[in-house]
Amino acid sequence: MQFLWLSLFGYVLLALESPLFEQMGIPLYTPDLAIPLLLVAARKLEDFSFLFYAAILGLFLDGLTPLQPLGLNMARIIIVAYAVRPLLTALPVRGFLGYVGLGIALSIFSDLVLLVLLKLLVAGPVQYGLIFERMIPYAILTGATVPIVNWLVEWIWTRRRPTKDSIFHQ
């Protein structure tokens, strides 16, 4: 159930972010919302569910982006997902700034993974310079969205729990 709910939440959020940032006039700096979603899911889902969730997020991203080769985001997000849990265990991540920092680090790691995948598995011209050019601002923006997405998930999470006086409560 948690898996389905988080998948639906991810679907809505990923579909909304691109047109929203276009409306704001900054389409090039649309944050990678898959990173905060992964950080939230890491605390809520079990091992395999978490990895499948990463694959689903990647599939959504591949479907949402025009002309994107299928598998690019899926592979990238799964590789990042493999790094999330060891990082959360190894680093003493506490509070607002800790999660922002972790989001920034994961975004940079995700860009480096993208670079390797593009170099090894995608034919045709790729703007490698653009990846480096936007890496830091992109990472900062992605890091800043971690607390927002976390707060949003928790806010909805507390509202979706049945209360004791609900007639459907078991």
Partner: protein, 289 residues
Amino acid sequence: MRRRYSGRPSTIIHALLILVPLTLLHYHGAHVDRESSLSRAAVYLTLPGQKTMGALARSGGRLANDYLVMLGVDFDFQHRYTKLGKEHEKLQLLMNDLKRRLDIQQRRATMCGFNFADGNRILVPARVISRSTGPVNQGLRIQVEAPSGTQIPKDTSVIAYPAGLVGIVIRSTNNTADVQLINDAGATIPAQISGTNIPGTSYGTGTRAKNSLKFVVTADHDPIKKGSTLVTSGHGNRYSKGIIIGEVTSERGRQAAAGVKVEYTVSPYIRFWQLEEVFLVLETPVEEN
């Protein structure tokens, strides 16, 4: 509590989770127009959300804009409104005059028995639903305003009003299509300078910068003047002929390929990131009289 799985089945699942996306990427990344049932399924899966959320964001943006105007945040609004009104009136007059002249010319030509070369083309309107600005591609996803099930042929040219080439259809799913923009690093367009016979090739540079195209010609031609208009030449039958691409912005050409070729920078007429509506140039079968 989180459970950790171990053992042989778990190793197989871990290996599959890594290998399946890599295999998919290896297959689909081989060429920009590679597609499969799975890639179409991914588009089908995300399309309803993309359309709904896009419409929601657009109407939200308009609402916020209107609210700001109502609050008086846009102090210059009245002045800009009057200026735009005058400009609109002037353009309307110009357009009516042009339409009238074109109509007269067309009637004269028909009376003389002249057949228009482009008579077998129709324009189909389409709405932009998503854009890609990443390092891999510069592209658009468009929804054709036609009944569901309409097939959009691959390699259909896409233009925008008033005139200007936007790109070419690479993939299509139902009545949506993915368009490769002319500034994509992989876009190669046979082109020529309007009014001359200088053929060459236009290449996208993959950036959103103003001069995002380069036009390459052989060095044995006369230098191209700044401000010249670049149009599609129709060679290779991939892009329709005579569509405006952009304007040459470099004062002089840059030597390329050991002096055999000359390279000019070109600025496209279309601002791709402001596009809301485009047209597909569909070739219809010529009716025989």
